[in-house]
């Protein structure tokens, strides 16, 4: 059997407004030898029929359906039937440079990479403009030679790249060898997969060219409706710890993990809106900061002193004192 060079796996859930732009930027990729696995996650809008159109037109497109179970489950479904040499997990409200797969695949192949990370930028819907983003690929924390492993990173290994999957290609053989799976939950379902891959990969390379465009300010985007899934990030963090222990890497990466745990908890708390904000505040303060290993660590354990100060503030003050403007 002839394996396509890349399997694109695209979970789709109620994105009729953006789906055509996304699909066009996939089917028109300059790398032609690909398969496109679209997993409809029980959409209730026209998404599925749009996908069916593409399937009819282009025999590289396969559409599979599942009952609504979230993007994590959809990606695992897609992964289970993928046959490509590399895997690309895209999001259906983003769009991509037409040479994204050609360039990233060529670079990955050249370095025989387990994992390649390329640069991305943001499409700001409110401004109708593409803006640069520096923090998705922090080159200064990488060695000046390739390929590399997480051990050569000179900053927290969980902060050098971002825990989402769409700016990366994963060698399928590598993913299968380590039985990597997405977490099946509403949000933060890719963190476990991506960070596990980063710490396991023996050969990581990068391509410093903006090839993917992330849509921002889409009011329906899941990250904007996180109050329904405010605890997902914590599940992702604890599952990551379990994996690190399983891989025999926890001791080595404990300090990075705990620092990232604080960083990610604070980001989730700061950006959460609505009634759940105070619930999360109390949960972190009473349980999760301790469970994540953050509590009882001396100040010098933390790379980012501002984050540590914020943690202390939360521990010592009330919700109203820390967030006076929250409803």
């Amino acid at each position: 059997m002839n394996h396509p060079k890349v399997s694109v796996i695209l979970p789709v859930y109620n994105v009729e407004k953006y789906l055509k732009q996304c699909m066009d930027s996939i089917v028109n990729q300059t790398l032609k030898d690909i398969e496109i696995i679209c997993v409809d996650d029980g959409s209730t809008d026209a998404s599925l029929s749009i996908l069916k159109e593409y399937e009819k037109e282009d025999d590289r497109v396969k559409v599979i359906c599942q009952q609504n179970a979230g993007a994590g489950a959809a990606r695992n479904n897609g992964l289970s039937i993928a046959t490509g040499e590399y895997l690309s997990f895209l999001d259906s409200d983003d769009f991509f440079s037409l040479d994204m797969l050609e360039k990233s695949y060529a670079q990955a192949k050249k370095e025989d990479a387990d994992l390649i990370v390329f640069r991305s930028d943001q499409y700001r819907e409110d401004l109708d403009k593409i803006v640069k983003v520096s923090w998705t690929l922090r080159e200064k924390a990488l060695p000046p030679y390739r390929p590399m492993t997480h051990r050569t990173f000179t900053d927290n290994v969980f902060k050098v790249f971002v825990g989402w999957a769409w700016d990366k290609l994963f060698k399928r053989e590598f993913v299968l060898e380590h039985e990597l799976q997405f977490q099946e939950q509403r949000t933060s379902n890719d963190l476990l997969f991506v960070f596990s891959a980063i710490v396991l990969a023996k050969r990581i390379t990068i391509l410093d060219e903006p090839l993917a465009h992330q849509r921002r300010n889409n009011p329906n985007s899941l990250s904007n409706t996180r109050e329904k899934s405010w605890q997902c990030f914590y599940n992702a963090l604890t599952a990551l710890k379990d994996n690190l222990v399983k891989f025999g890497l926890y001791k080595e990466l404990e300090q990075d993990y705990i620092n990232y745990g604080l960083h990610f908890s604070l980001w989730n708390l700061d950006t959460l809106t609505g009634a759940k904000k105070e619930v999360l505040f109390d949960k972190l303060k009473k349980e999760w900061f301790a469970a994540l290993g953050i509590a009882n660590k001396p100040k010098e354990y933390f790379y980012n002193k501002k984050e540590f100060a914020k943690f202390e503030k939360i521990m010592n003050q009330s919700f109203q004192e820390v967030y006076p403007d929250a409803k």
Binding site: P143, P144, Q255
Partner: protein, 381 residues
């Protein structure tokens, strides 16, 4: 089974190879196996090896495409069948009793490895050989006794080389000690050497030199970007090996950073000026991270070195200005001063010679009266 297998990884060394081979085939220990790996030489090296292999059936000749030192050495290690293994670089040579003596010591003490002091030499012409005795350890008490390098981490301070000793084949195989095979890399002996120390439980160093290490051209700078970070890559490799054994990493991480520091300082001198700033930046980032993770052990460093580490980690630009740029300028100035001093010396020698010459003295006598007259006129004005 041969008593010692001697591995000679060979690449473009036709000028020196005969001297090397002669010293190996004429070893007083006769029961040896000589494994020559021709790593795709483009000069006459292969022909030289072939002619030796024809004459001496103890020689095993492997001819392969060029793939680098690590791969060539690993092929040699796979092929070796002897009880012990030695390594000779094809531009070096050895004393004729080297393997007989070392084998005896290794056997008597049941050693995983034994290493000896050695000479570095420079040869300007046939008769003029400049030799410098190199001691593996500064401490005389370290010699001629069995020690356990897997426990005694201080032994990592001994001078790094893989060729001044022999290793028990069984020991090498038990821990599968091999070289890094990354193509285009250098310093792949560092990883091999590190492994022999972290795994061996019975070792000895002896204070008699047997190995002659050529140093004709030691100071050629690296101007090829690919080679600038070879030491970093080798030390990444060594860390990966150490971390496979968490208890060894815990024990050796302090010495790991110590060796890395010394090698990085050496690298700054080795690479071209154009790469020194970016190298210092990487040096800085790696040590900053190591300090943050508390992997460095201040007690293994000198006070001065520990200070330098703080500076390089916190302020790479200061480090670059004070220890990289300034020391180059300083060296240049010193050279100039020495030249001027030499010139000055030469001139005063010449002056002395002139003054002591007959014609000078006669001239002075002849000119005595007119000179005095001149002084007298001057004085009367």
């Amino acid at each position: 089974m041969a008593k010692v297998s001697i591995i000679i990884p060979t690449y473009n060394v036709e000028m020196y190879l005969v001297e090397c081979m002669e010293s190996v085939i004429h070893q007083t220990l006769k029961d040896i196996e000589i494994i020559c790996i021709n790593d795709g030489s483009t000069d006459g090296s292969l022909e030289i090896l072939k002619s030796y292999a024809q004459k001496d059936d103890r020689i095993v000749l492997v001819d392969k495409e060029n793939g680098g030192y690590g791969i060539a050495m690993n092929i040699g290690l796979e092929k070796a069948t002897g009880e012990y293994i030695g390594i000779v670089e094809p531009d070096d040579f050895v004393k004729l009793d080297m393997y007989e003596s070392l084998y005896q010591i290794a056997k008597d003490n049941d050693l995983d490895f034994v290493k000896a002091d050695f000479y570095r030499f420079k040869r300007t012409d046939e008769d003029d050989m400049n030799m410098v005795y190199n001691r593996l350890s500064k401490n005389p008490e370290d010699y001629n006794k069995v020690f356990n390098p897997s426990e005694d981490t201080e032994a990592i301070r001994y001078i790094m080389n893989t060729w001044s000793g022999i290793y028990k084949k069984e020991f090498i195989e038990k821990h599968h000690i091999r070289h890094n095979e990354t193509p285009g890399a250098s310093f792949q002996d560092n990883g091999f050497w590190f492994q022999t120390f972290i795994f061996a439980t019975r070792a000895m160093i002896v204070d008699k030199p047997y190995y002659m290490n050529r140093r004709d051209n030691p100071n050629s700078s690296v101007h090829n970007r690919e080679k600038v970070y070879c030491m970093n890559i080798e030390y990444d490799h060594i860390r990966d090996i150490l971390m496979e054994h968490p208890e060894l990493w815990e024990r050796f991480k302090g010495m790991y950073w110590y060796k890395k520091y010394n090698n990085y300082i050496g690298t700054i001198r080795r690479i071209g000026m154009e790469y020194r700033h970016e190298f210092v930046e990487r040096f800085s980032a790696e040590f900053k991270r190591g300090l943050e993770k508390k992997e460095l052990d201040p007690s293994v460093f000198s006070v001065a070195a520990w200070k330098k580490i703080q500076v390089v980690a916190a302020e790479p630009d200061t480090f670059y200005k004070v220890w990289v740029v300034a020391s180059v300028t300083e060296r240049k100035l010193n050279k100039k001063i020495m030249q001027l001093e030499r010139k000055n010396q030469k001139l005063s020698n010449e002056l002395a010679m002139i003054k002591s010459s007959k014609s000078y003295r006669i001239g002075r006598i002849l000119l005595f009266i007119p000179r005095k007259l001149k002084e007298w006129i001057k004085g009367s004005k």
